[in-house]
């Protein structure tokens, strides 16, 4: 990783671009932007080595507001640009900014293949369970029955779960956080930045205009502690106002238990490094109404990284064979006319 020479100390302000932020006042995107601008200086990566690539959507305007390199590409295709860039310039730190429509509807395939290949990029998926920019149609994460501009009688589509899709795509780093959880988000973003390979962070984001309150059960300070399960590697899974509740495993089914009643050693212990993703998958199924929603790092494992393997093959080939274009020209049978 590239670190900044000692004498350059970056601050939040260094990452603020000269563009006016044009999201709706109160939009969750503003909070995410602020956290990102606060977290990046801590990474010690020079600003010019950071590239933000987005698709299309409210969320995808993100790069304009970051004083790094940035490309606001086309709908759903940001991961493909990121992959090409990373193959050309492995030393850059590449972030993909996408929405639930951009990343899971039109861009679902690229999202999935980038994770599968484990290209060394960080994907932030701003999930507001709606299409914001096009003014309020349902998205692949909108619940069945959601009434929107395009589903006046209620959506007839079963939603997907971002974490589940990422697991099906064999992602090596998977995390979830919430727009307004400043410290939590910052920690998760940093972990993503430091991960080798593709990192996915789903950010629960409130669209105040078209889907206000979709994540209220998490963000509401009153309900938060009852509804959130903070995942910590190696720690038993506890939640509730005073951590009085816990998750116990019953076959493949989770149970909410009172810690005082069953004892902490009965609780499921989080293991983000588990070689198989079954635990992460199990966790991805938890949520309202019967369970708390897990936040934090679901999974963080070491796995062959596409962009590294590519460069390894190039280096190996270069070590084994001189870069002799003329020899290539002369492959096969040649003859001389004099």
């Amino acid at each position: 990783m590239n670190t900044v020479p000692e004498d350059i100390k970056l601050t939040r302000k260094d990452f603020v671009s000269d563009q006016d932020v044009r999201w709706c006042p109160g939009c969750g995107n503003n909070a995410i932007l602020a956290q990102m601008q606060k977290m990046l200086p801590e990474l010690g990566v020079p600003r010019e080595k950071i590239v933000m690539i987005s698709g299309i959507g409210c969320s995808s305007r993100f790069p304009y507001y970051m004083n790094t390199y940035g490309v606001h590409s086309i709908h759903g295709r940001a991961p493909t640009l990121a992959m090409g860039l990373k193959c050309a310039r492995p030393e850059l730190q590449v972030w993909v900014i996408t929405g639930d429509g951009d990343g899971l509807a039109i861009g679902g395939n690229h999202f999935s293949h980038a994770l599968r290949r484990n290209v060394d990029i960080n994907i932030l998926l701003f999930n507001n369970q709606v299409y914001g920019l096009t003014k309020g149609q349902y998205s692949p994460t909108s619940p069945l029955g959601a009434k929107t501009q395009s589903s006046p009688d209620g959506s007839i589509e079963n939603p997907v779960n971002t974490i589940g899709v990422a697991i099906g795509s064999e992602a090596s780093f998977i995390a979830r956080t919430v727009d307004v959880f400043q410290k939590h988000m910052s920690g998760v973003l940093k972990r993503a930045a430091e991960h080798r390979g593709a990192a996915l962070v789903e950010i629960a984001q409130n669209c105040i205009i078209f889907n206000d309150g979709a994540w209220a059960h998490l963000s509401d300070p009153d309900k938060r502690l009852e509804n959130v399960l903070y995942l910590e590697h190696g720690k038993p899974m506890r939640f509730g106002k005073k951590g009085e509740k816990g998750i116990r495993l019953n076959g493949f089914t989770p149970e909410v238990v009172e810690v005082a009643e069953v004892g902490e050693d009965q609780l499921l212990v989080h293991d983000e490094r588990a070689s198989e993703p079954t635990l992460a998958y199990f966790l991805s199924r938890m949520g309202p109404p019967h369970f708390p929603t897990p936040l934090g790092v679901f999974r963080a494992i070491d796995k062959p990284v596409y962009s590294e393997l590519l460069m390894q093959q190039v280096r190996t080939a270069q070590a084994q064979r001189p870069p002799d274009l003329d020899a290539l020209f002369r492959q096969g049978e040649t003859w001389v006319v004099s």
């Binding site: 790069p63 493909t80 990121a82 090409g84 690229h110 590519l310 049978e333 006319v337």
Partner: protein, 611 residues
């Protein structure tokens, strides 16, 4: 033997055909290399079955390879073959219609069993058909059994021996055209170095075929084809796909850049991916994307990062890339897209050739989205066009389209191996001076914008597919900015014309007829024009390598001819552009058969127009 006549021919076309497993591609390449090494000019075209492995002996399973060699410069694999080597009934049925009247048929009589005849829909054995015998010069040779006999002494299994029959057939053709055996003998020894018995068997089969020609009374004449006058140099045979791959990697080397090739497999372009994925030692980074959209997206990403980035596909893939091509046009990034055109629309004729994606290259995107378009004129020319495409891309910071063709991709011709030092390098500049820097500022002569790389300190900037302010490049919805940027993008592509070499007119400066061609029909058109010129007709030939922009002098040239004939493997796409631009009443010669033009077709059309 010596009683046989020996005659000289200026050119010969041989078509080898048989079942997919019969090794006809190998016989064909051997004959072409031997002829090229001997000193002929050569042009070849394989014809694979669309099925991966069709049932043995079936019509669908016929594989063919055509070799044209001559004592003068040639440009096509030949119209109709003089000689047909047909290893089984199915291949005879499929290819006999193409043989010249009076042409030679060499057939493996052993394969004309009832079962095989039935598979080829023959009720009776055509080799016994007197009508056939009177139209063509029939040579039913028991190739299989003669091969087995010749290999009696070799300790190999029956099936392995049978596999040598393609060399027997080749040997016989070698005798017919007095070709030397050395090249093929050496090739066999080299190829089967690890299997001395196999090598021995193939050598013996080749020689047996040759001797059969010499001894059999059936062959009354032996022909020779003299050497062609050829520029001095080292040569090899090359097809369009390999030439494209080599051209791309050469372009990157000329600029000291990594080559990033991102592609999704599709016939007939996949071979370029196969080649490039083998050349990592030259810093080629090949990506097999999940689809064509991703291939285009990653090409943009790589170009943005400063690599020489290219993506290749065929027509349906271009459809999928089109949205992202427009992004590349908006971002004004240098990169190359090539389309190995095949028969369309839709899946169409995936293994056949066509030139029907010209208007798609020009107009197949929303909005005004100008892009330079080039087309190679022969297999080897793909090399030069690939380099030129990158030169233009970098000079004008623009994506560039190359329109290759299935025919060019698969056809082979001798390629004079260039020396890297003779090719001008490609100058690339990436600005690093942050002061006064504007991402969408312009080079006054090329209208290029700076190719600014992420990673450059102090020049962080953002850009995207939205319309821009000219200069700063920041998002602008202002009416005049959109107008200005649209004009700039169009002008920039027009500027390419200022850097083009002058058009070569082949023939009279003024005449009754000009034939205007593009792409892979060059060979057929050039030859047909030459022939009609030789007959004294007032006809000239211009070949367009640059389809957008057109060379500046084109309009003036067109105005000097009474009529302009445009032969195209489409429904008149270049004609439409020429008519719209120059208001010239062109005559279209349109062919939509999945097959290249024959020389005769063009020749006949010229004569009709001038009679």
């Amino acid at each position: 033997m010596s009683s046989r006549t020996r005659e000289e021919l200026q050119q010969v076309t041989v078509l080898f055909c048989g079942d997919s497993g019969d090794g006809m591609q190998l016989s064909g390449t051997q004959l072409s290399t031997t002829s090229a090494v001997y000193g002929n000019d050569v042009s070849t075209l394989p014809d694979y079955p669309p099925e991966i492995r069709a049932p043995a002996g079936s019509l669908a399973g016929v594989s063919a390879f055509q070799v044209h060699f001559a004592g003068h410069k040639i440009h096509t694999p030949g119209d109709n073959p003089d000689v047909l080597v047909a290893m089984n009934p199915a291949s005879l049925r499929v290819n006999l219609p193409r043989l010249k009247p009076g042409g030679v048929v060499i057939s493996d009589r052993d394969m004309f069993s009832e079962r095989n005849l039935a598979k080829a829909d023959y009720a009776t054995n055509p080799l016994d058909d007197p009508a056939l015998g009177s139209t063509y010069c029939l040579h039913p040779v028991p190739i299989s059994s003669l091969t087995l006999k010749a290999l009696e002494a070799v300790d190999l299994k029956h099936t392995a021996k049978r596999r040598c029959k393609n060399f027997f057939a080749l040997g016989l053709v070698y005798w017919l055209y007095a070709r030397p055996l050395e090249q093929s003998l050496a090739w066999i020894s080299n190829k089967f170095a690890g299997h001395p018995l196999v090598a021995e068997a193939n050598r013996r089969a080749l020689q047996a075929g040759y001797h059969y020609g010499e001894t059999s009374e059936a062959f009354a004449v032996q022909w020779s084809v003299p050497r062609a006058p050829v520029e001095a140099g080292s040569y090899r045979m090359i097809n369009g796909n390999e030439a494209m791959a080599l051209g791309l990697v050469t372009a990157a080397r000329l600029a000291q850049k990594a080559l990033v090739y991102s592609s999704y497999p599709i016939t007939p372009a996949s071979e370029v991916l196969h080649h490039l994925s083998r050349w990592k030692h030259l810093d080629v980074r090949s990506i097999q994307a999940e689809d064509e959209i991703a291939a285009m997206g990653s090409t943009i990403g790589a170009a943005y990062g400063g690599a020489f980035a290219v993506t290749g596909t065929s027509g349906p893939g271009v459809c999928l890339k089109s949205e992202a091509i427009n992004l590349a046009i908006m971002l004004e990034l240098p990169l190359v897209i090539f389309n190995v055109q095949r028969g369309g629309p839709s899946t169409g004729l995936p293994t056949k050739t066509e030139q029907a994606d010209l208007l798609q290259a020009l107009f197949g995107r929303n909005g005004e989205s100008p892009i330079p378009v080039l087309a190679p004129d022969s297999p080897a020319d793909c090399f030069a066009v690939a380099i030129e495409a990158f030169r233009i891309a970098v000079r004008h910071t623009t994506p560039v389209f190359i329109l290759s063709e299935g025919y060019l991709a698969n056809s082979s011709e001798p390629w004079r191996i260039p020396s890297l030092h003779d090719i001008p390098t490609i100058e690339v500049q990436h600005p690093v001076e942050a002061r006064g820097f504007q991402p969408y500022s312009r080079d006054a002569s090329t209208l290029a914008r700076p190719w600014l790389l992420p990673g450059t300190p102090g020049m962080e900037y953002r850009m995207g597919g939205l319309e821009k302010h000219p200069g700063s490049g920041s998002v602008s919805y202002a009416p005049q900015d959109h107008e200005a940027m649209c004009r700039l993008r169009a002008d920039k592509v027009q500027r390419v014309a200022a850097f083009l070499p002058e058009i070569e007119v082949n023939g009279p400066e003024q005449a009754a007829l000009l034939v205007l061609g593009w792409g892979g029909s060059y060979g057929a058109v050039a030859t047909a024009v030459q022939r009609t010129q030789d007959k004294g007709l007032a006809v000239a030939h211009v070949h367009l390598r640059h389809l957008n922009p057109f060379p500046s002098e084109l309009g003036e040239i067109l105005s000097r001819y009474d009529r302009v004939l445009i032969p195209e493997l489409n429904d008149g796409q270049l004609a439409l552009l020429i008519r719209a631009r120059y208001l010239v009443d062109t005559v279209s010669f349109s062919k939509l058969q999945g097959q290249p033009f024959t020389i005769t077709e063009i020749e006949t059309r010229i004569e009709e127009l001038l009679s």
